[in-house]
Symmetry: C2
C-alpha cells in the first residue's frame, strides 16, 4: 500500500483534526482548516478511496470520517512529524525528575508520574529486569526467634528485603555465620545464576542438621529470587475519565476494569519487549485492535525502555486513547526517558 502525496496530506489532516476535535471530519471542514487547493468534491473522492483502503471510516452514512486503527498506524509509521518539546515542557519535566534524588525506585516512579501529569493519560513503569544484576551484599538479621530479615543489595543499586521464617532455636550468631558464608560465596554472581544448588553449596560449611538447612536454603533462595520479580506500576487511571473518548459509562468501566488487572497489563508489556536485555531506544507502539489485551481496544500503548547500567533495563510508557497526539506523547516519553537515564546514571555511579 503506497499513498500518493495528496492522499497522505488528506489522511494526515483527518488524523490531526480528529485528534484535536473528537468530531468526525467532513470534506468541507477539511477545506476550511487546511489549505487544500482542490475542491471539497475532490477531497470526497480521495476520502472514498482512503476508506476503500481501510485507512478511514464513517461512524454512520452521513457523517464525516475518522481514522481507522490502520489509519493511525499509517500515520504513526510514515506521516507524523516529531514534535520538539518547548523550553517550558523540557524545564518542567527536568525539574520534576531532577528533584527526585532518593533511591532508584522513587526516581522511576517520579518519572512515571510526570508522564501521566503531562499527558493526561495513564502512565506506567515496569520494574527493572534484574536477573542480569549481581549480588553485592546479602545480610540476614535475626528479628526474633523463628524470624529473620534477609537484605539484598544488587549491583543496580537496588535494595530488597524480605522477612523469612527460620528454625526457632537458631541464634543470632548462627544466623550471622550463615549469612556471612552465603554472602561470601554468592557475591558477584548474577541473579540468574543463583539457584537452589548454589545457595545450598554456599552454606555447606555450617554445622547444622540437614533438615534445618533445607528450610534456610529455601527461604534464602526465595528471598533472592523475589528480588527479580516483575512489577508494574500504573498511574493516572482516573484521568482517563475526563476524556470524551471514555464518556460513556460502559467504556469507562471497561477501561478501568482492564487496567485494574495489573498482572495482565504487566504480562502484555513484557511481551512487547521480548529482548529487553538488548534494548535500544526504540518505541513499541500498539494501536487499538493491535492490542491483544481484552478491553483496551480503544487505547494505544506506547512504551520504551530505561536503562540501569549496560545490562539492566525496564520499561516506561503511556496508555492513552488511540485518538491521541502521538508525536507529542512520544516526544514527552522520550525526554522523560532521557532524564530518567541520566539521573539513574548519576545515582548509581
Amino acid at each position: 500500500m503506497s499513498l500518493d502525496s495528496r492522499k497522505k496530506q488528506v489522511l494526515d489532516a483527518i488524523v490531526d483534526d480528529y485528534v484535536s476535535t473528537y468530531e468526525p471530519v467532513g470534506s468541507k471542514a477539511l477545506i476550511e482548516r487546511h489549505n487544500f487547493t482542490v475542491s471539497s468534491a475532490t477531497l470526497r473522492n480521495e476520502m472514498a478511496e482512503l476508506e476503500k483502503m481501510g485507512l478511514i471510516e464513517k461512524p454512520h452514512t452521513s457523517a464525516g470520517r475518522i481514522p481507522s486503527d490502520k489509519g493511525y498506524r499509517e500515520y504513526v509509521n510514515s506521516l507524523m512529524s516529531y514534535d520538539n518539546l518547548t523550553r517550558e515542557e523540557r524545564d518542567d519535566i527536568s525539574r520534576r525528575i531532577d528533584g527526585s534524588v532518593n533511591d532508584i525506585t522513587d526516581l522511576i516512579r517520579t518519572a512515571t508520574d510526570t508522564l501521566s501529569e503531562r499527558t493526561g493519560f495513564v502512565s506506567l513503569y515496569m520494574s527493572p529486569r534484574l536477573h542480569k544484576s549481581f549480588l553485592k551484599q546479602l545480610k540476614m538479621l535475626m528479628i526474633e526467634p523463628g524470624k529473620a530479615l534477609v537484605v539484598i543489595v544488587l549491583s543496580a543499586g537496588v535494595v530488597k528485603d524480605k522477612v523469612v521464617r527460620i528454625p526457632n532455636f537458631l541464634t543470632g550468631e548462627q544466623i550471622m555465620k550463615i549469612s556471612d558464608s552465603v554472602e561470601q560465596s554468592l557475591t558477584g554472581k548474577p541473579l540468574d545464576e543463583i539457584t537452589l544448588v548454589t545457595v545450598a553449596s554456599s552454606m555447606k560449611d555450617t554445622d547444622l542438621p540437614d533438615a534445618m538447612m533445607n528450610q534456610i536454603i529455601y527461604e534464602a533462595y526465595t528471598a533472592i529470587k523475589q528480588a527479580d520479580s516483575l512489577n508494574i506500576y500504573l498511574e493516572g487511571e482516573n484521568k482517563m475519565l475526563q476524556l470524551p473518548d471514555f464518556g460513556e459509562l460502559a467504556k469507562a468501566r471497561n477501561l478501568l476494569d482492564s487496567l485494574s488487572n495489573d498482572g495482565m497489563v504487566a504480562g502484555y508489556v513484557n511481551e512487547l519487549h521480548p529482548e529487553i536485555e538488548k534494548a535500544d531506544d526504540s518505541f513499541m507502539i500498539r494501536i487499538g485492535q493491535e492490542i491483544t489485551l481484552d478491553g483496551l481496544q480503544d487505547c494505544s500503548f506506547i512504551t520504551t525502555t530505561y536503562k540501569i547500567g549496560d545490562d539492566i533495563s525496564g520499561n516506561i510508557g503511556v496508555i492513552g486513547p488511540k485518538r491521541m497526539e502521538y508525536s507529542k506523547v512520544i516526544s514527552q516519553i522520550n525526554f522523560v526517558r532521557k532524564k530518567l537515564n541520566d539521573n539513574i546514571k548519576k545515582l548509581t555511579e
Copy 2:
C-alpha cells in the same frame, strides 16, 4: 425526636426496600412487600409525617420516598437489627485471612481485600499508629560509599527500612559502630520518645567530627520517624462503578477523583478515630452529608480498629454508597476485624 412503633416500622421498611431496589418506595409497594395491617392511605399519612421530620424525602412530587441522611442515621442508630453471618460467609472470610501468613502488613492487606470482595465496595486500612511501639532493633548496613540502609524492627513485629545518605568516606566498620551504639541506647524506647536529641546523645561516644555526625543523626532520625508515618490503602475503587448509585458518569468521576486523593481520605479517617490508642471495638459510621470530605456525600464510611498488642492499633473499614445494607456490612467488618486481630496475635506472640 422519638418515633412511635409504627413509624419505626415504616421507616425500617422504606430503608430496606430502597436499599434492595434502588427505587423510591411508594405507599402501595410498601403494603405489598410488608405485612402492614393498615391501608396505603394510612401509610401515606405516616410517610408525610416522617417527611416532615426530615427522615425521608421525595426525589420529586409524584415519586415514592427515599431515606434522607437523617433517616439512614435513625435506621443505623435504632432500627437496624444485626445480621449474623452465615456459615458460608464466615468460612470464606476465615479461609482468606487465615491463608495469609507472611507478615503483618500482608495480613492487614488481605483482610482489607477480603472486605472489598465480599461487600463489593471500597475497603481501606490505615497503617498501625506506631508511636507507642518501641524499638527492638536498629541496624545500619553500608551499601556503598555514601549510602547506608537503616533497618528498624519494632515491637509490633513491623520491619521498616530506608536507604539514607551518609558521608562518603565513612567505612563499613564505622557505620557498624555507630549502628551498635544507637541501637544500644535506643532499644526499648517507644517511637514517640525518640527525638533528634535522643538520637544525637546515643551517638555521643563516637569519635567523628560534628558536621559529619549531624548528617548521620538527621538521617537516622528521619529513618526512624518514617516508620511511624501514616499510610492508607484503598482497594476496590472500580467496583463502585458497577453500582447504580454511581451510574451517572459525573458521579462516578467525582467519586473516583475524591477517592484518589489518598491523603485526604487518610486524614479524614484519622479524624474519625481521635483517641485510637484507647480504641475499643466500636464502629465509626458517617453517612452522606455527615462526611466532611468533599465529593463523598453519596457515600457512607464505616470504620473500626484492629489491634496489635495493647498499645498499637490501626483502622479498617468500608466506603460504600449510603444506600447499603448497613447491618450486613457492619457484621462483615466485625468478623474480618476479629479474624484479623486473632491472626495478628498469632503472628506477634
